[in-house]
């Protein structure tokens, strides 16, 4: 539930911070935040993440720090 609830808190923060500009509608959180939620859990379970080199990032056309996938990527 840590994943779910981290998303919940980030959503609440987002709604509150932008309460004067948000229009009525249904939204999803950004991919940056999604990756951030995952990242927050890696250390706890002993995951070592590989880092892209500048060359690799350029080759793929993504920033070194992410987000790494296009919006239509399905995981």
């Amino acid at each position: 539930m840590s994943n779910s609830f981290s998303n919940q808190v980030l959503a609440q923060l987002d709604l509150w911070r932008n309460k004067d500009t948000y229009k009525v509608g249904v939204y999803v959180l950004s991919k940056q935040l999604d990756e951030e939620v995952a990242r927050l859990h890696l250390q706890k379970i002993g995951v070592k993440l590989t880092k892209l080199t500048e060359k690799q990032a350029e080759y793929l056309g993504v920033p070194v720090e992410g987000p790494y996938k296009s919006e239509h990527y399905r995981y």
Binding site: F5, S6, K19, V26, V28
Partner: protein, 419 residues
């Protein structure tokens, strides 16, 4: 003449037993270690109190894990009130710990439907007649209540129309009672309502439907479709919790049994893995050709529910749809078949019609929300042949859904069902 002063400190919470608070607190501190995402957010944001001044209502299973969520929102400065989003999912020690910490919480395991909606209404009733500015919803019940109330004040007569279910009537009774007290209650509330974040597939489905019909009143964030939600809690959470729920409630051998999973979405995939891991022979039912092909490529037999009647031992609904398992289906199942729902609402199985039908001996089990790491004999559930009981099973560490059981028990049951 002496003046008698009645000092009533009206307690602003309702839980089963406040004395369970210390036990709850211990388990919350264990859960904090298991929820690194929330704790990192707390560390990062708590000093700036970014939710200072925000009134937040949560309607989400009042469990130990949820307690960590609540205390994160409080640490960020929010003024929080809480209810559960299922009548059986509250862990009473979690609710007690939260109440003792000073957060108004209205939740206990085994609420009636009327009590459930009373709790929901209390959770949105802040002091001085205020409502929430933000809502954390799971299944969309708070969002539904506010929208229906708002529509009633706009002249919509839904609340006065005949109800399709007992629960629907409870909502209407509440709305009419609120209207009697304050005919502008919902408009006042909506005036300050700034948004909702929705936890689950079913609630998200409701939100998109409201948006399509131009009825949505506030911005809504679909948390369910964060990849880190649906591809994790829905899949691995259910993989973890299904077997646990079955064992707590029934403790029957799963290996060798034929398990029929209705639906092969994220939840269905987790359930299929869960039961296959126990040695069950897993059969999938699907309406979507892509998901059906996925299931087949994974090695599961895919067929219709009707084809499995008479040889399926365990049925699990995961669809988010209604009437997946009907009374007519249950009449044709083998003796002692186990039927359970892991979806958000219990209308995936025709529970009310089964009970209303009478003459059957379907036992429904309510399992106590024990903690996994406490090794106890799973004998703390009660079999009931009477009114519908659902079990809301919650535990650490990752995720759990409410699982509902119906067990046709004994040859007499099979006969009376068939009669």
């Amino acid at each position: 003449m002496p003046t008698t002063t009645r000092t009533e400190t009206k307690q602003d919470y309702k839980v089963a037993d406040i004395n369970l608070a210390d036990w709850g607190r211990k388990e919350i501190s264990i859960a904090e270690q298991e929820m690194p995402g929330l704790m990192a957010i707390r560390e990062k944001y708590a000093p700036g109190k970014p939710l200072q001044g925000a009134r937040v209502t949560g309607s989400l299973h009042m469990t130990i894990q949820t307690a960590v969520l609540i205390e994160t929102l409080v640490a960020l400065g929010a003024d929080v009130r809480w209810a559960s989003c299922n009548i059986f999912s509250t862990q009473d020690h979690a609710a007690a710990a939260i109440a003792k910490a000073g957060v108004p919480v209205f939740a206990w395991k085994g609420e009636s439907l009327a009590e459930y909606w009373w709790c929901t209404n209390r959770a949105i009733s802040f002091p001085d007649g205020k409502g929430p500015q933000l809502v954390v919803d799971d299944g969309g019940d708070v969002t539904l209540l506010i929208h229906k109330g708002y529509q009633l004040e706009e002249g919509n007569d839904w609340a006065k129309s005949p109800s399709q279910s007992k629960e629907e009537q409870c909502i209407k009774d509440l709305l009419l009672a609120v209207q009697g007290e304050n005919p502008f209650r919902w408009h006042e509330l909506v005036n300050e309502w700034r948004g909702v974040s929705e936890e689950t597939t079913t609630g998200v489905h409701r939100l998109y439907k409201m948006q399509q019909q131009n009825q949505l009143l506030v911005p809504a964030i679909n948390v369910n479709d964060s990849v880190t939600k649906s591809k994790f809690d829905n899949l691995y959470g259910c993989r973890h919790s299904l077997v646990d729920g079955l064992n707590r409630a029934l403790d029957v051998m799963i290996g060798g049994k034929v398990a029929v999973i209705c639906g092969y979405g994220d939840v269905g995939k987790g359930c299929a893995q869960s039961l296959r891991g126990q040695g069950a022979r897993v059969v999938i039912t699907e309406i979507d050709p892509i998901n059906a092909l996925q299931a087949a490529m994974e090695g599961y037999q895919v067929t219709t529910l009707e084809d499995t009647l008479g040889w399926g031992d365990i049925y699990v609904t995961t669809t988010g749809n209604v009437d997946i398992i009907t009374v007519a289906h249950m009449e044709r199942m083998k003796n002692q078949a186990i039927v359970c729902n892991i979806g958000h609402f219990d209308n995936e199985i025709q529970v009310d019609p089964l009970n209303d039908r009478g003459g059957h001996q379907a036992h429904q089990h309510q399992a106590a929300g024990r903690q996994v790491h406490v090794p106890r004999r799973p004998r703390d559930f009660h079999a009931r042949g009477g009114p519908s009981r659902k079990s809301g099973l919650r535990h650490r560490p990752s995720e759990l859904r409410d699982v509902e059981f119906i067990l046709q028990s004994g040859p007499r049951a099979a006969r009376s069902l068939a009669e």
